[in-house]
Amino acid sequence: MKLKSLFMAILLLFLTACGAKEEVRSDKKKETMQSITVANWSQPITEATNLLVDEEKGFFKEKGIDLTVIPGAGGGDAIKNILSGQADVAFTDPGSLYFALDQGEKLKVIYNIYPQNVFNVVSLKENKIEKPEDLKGKTIGVYSLTSGTRQNLLILLHKVGLTEKDVNIVETGISNFAPLMQGQVDATAATDTGLYLAKQKGLGDVNVIDIKDYLNAPSDVFVVTEKTYEEKKDELKKFIEAYRASAEWMMSNPEEAASLAKEFAIDGKEENVNLEVIKLRNDASVSAQTEQNGLGAIDASVLQQGADTYQRLGLVKNKLDLSKVITEEFLEEEE
């Protein structure tokens, strides 16, 4: 009898605990809601606060969408998660999109999250690297050899007639400003938020080469599989409407978002840091195109230019036709 009770207790504990994250929210309303799972490229971080606070703000709930966000380790992970059916929408970078398309995957780009290229190459002033040509012969750190930092660095080098062979690229991990400060690398390929955080940690005077001055390709887009695109049109339309509303909220209320990030983002420890990160992402969410056509507007020509550069660099083998991949169907405003 005792053994039986113990077994039942263990079983109950396991079921309760394992269900903790999947959150069995039992409200009846949920049954009528449509579920959408977003595969994020990262953990739940401050810059995506608008996606994380639905419990509090209800942007998605209001549209009848039961939103789940699953973490990932890079844009490639996000794409893998939609291809394996674990998620419906991937929050990913164009590089990962090009690689998947090159492998023959059938995908659709449905929203331009950050039309601005947020990547940069940072060096200490004393290293005298003021323009991309100065990188020749230098050692440059990247997050990882499969990350957007490396791909954007290659684009920059390509734009000034240099190749990977003209520089020494080293993988430094995501704390890549430490080797720069220690003098182990001459420059580091990073992002605007990374640069802000490094400055907070005592990075001195630096020269910054913004990749967007050479190719202003989007930093992140929402991607779905063709199958999801065909089967979940209604849900995707509502999802995009809700995401737009959440992005608009984050732009008009950065302070509130920064405060909520403390609770909902794994890296949201300090509110003042959250605020600056959120402001940077708000700036990255708008462009001339979004001013005209609303948030999420996709510039097909820039994405195509990015794909062509990837092919010239040998990063992808095939000529990719982005016009077949991009759809603005869900971006049309409701009358």
């Binding site: 953990q43 704390s175 890296d267």
Partner: protein, 249 residues
Amino acid sequence: MKKMPIYSLLLLVLLLVIWEWVAGTLSELVLPAPSVIWMTLIDGLASGYFTPHIIRTASEVLLGLLFGCLSGFIIGILMGEVTFLRKLLFPYIVASQAVPKLALTPLFILWFGFGMTSKVVITALVCFFPLLESTVTAIQTSDTHKKELFKMLGATRFQTLIHLKIPAGMPGILAGLRVSVVLAVVGAVVGEFIGSSEGLGALIIATQAMMDTPLMFATLILLTVFGMILYLIVSWFEKKWLKRYQKEI
């Protein structure tokens, strides 16, 4: 020899002083000072910042330990008792343990999802083998004379197992458990490195992106303390058991 704990403590103080001094000459991003790490740790604990992460990792470790050790113990007994099973299963079990779990983590997430289940499975797999190995050895190496005595007294195979082999093998089994508890923490953290939004392992990854090295050290301290507490609990239990068992003898 009695003064060893004092020397050990003095060594720690000396190392901390050297660390504090060296850290003063470097950026906090490269090497934070122990005082800064301590403040970060206290601040995080007081504000409750660490709480959900500690609960998550502790749950994964305890559940993984429970399932891994329970299955290791039961299969260990079966393999220790039944030679046929031991010969049949052992090569496969050894092969399964030779596979690096870290490489399998992304697959476990695909199979078991992003919730706690995948991390519990990884932890259980990591804990399973040390306990299995120690249980098999403990069951097989019980005292031959005592076994003969049990036989003469007409004890059944089950009675011999329950009253002789398991109690006598307990020191060996608990030694396996001591290894398992420390490995369980490693298993859960490795599981959290990929595909996790919560837990001390996920926090370590986040601290790298946040460039918050003091927070990373503070998280590592929490994990170390957690592993040590588990180890000490098993050691305490082991001592109690041995005391009782020796008395009975």
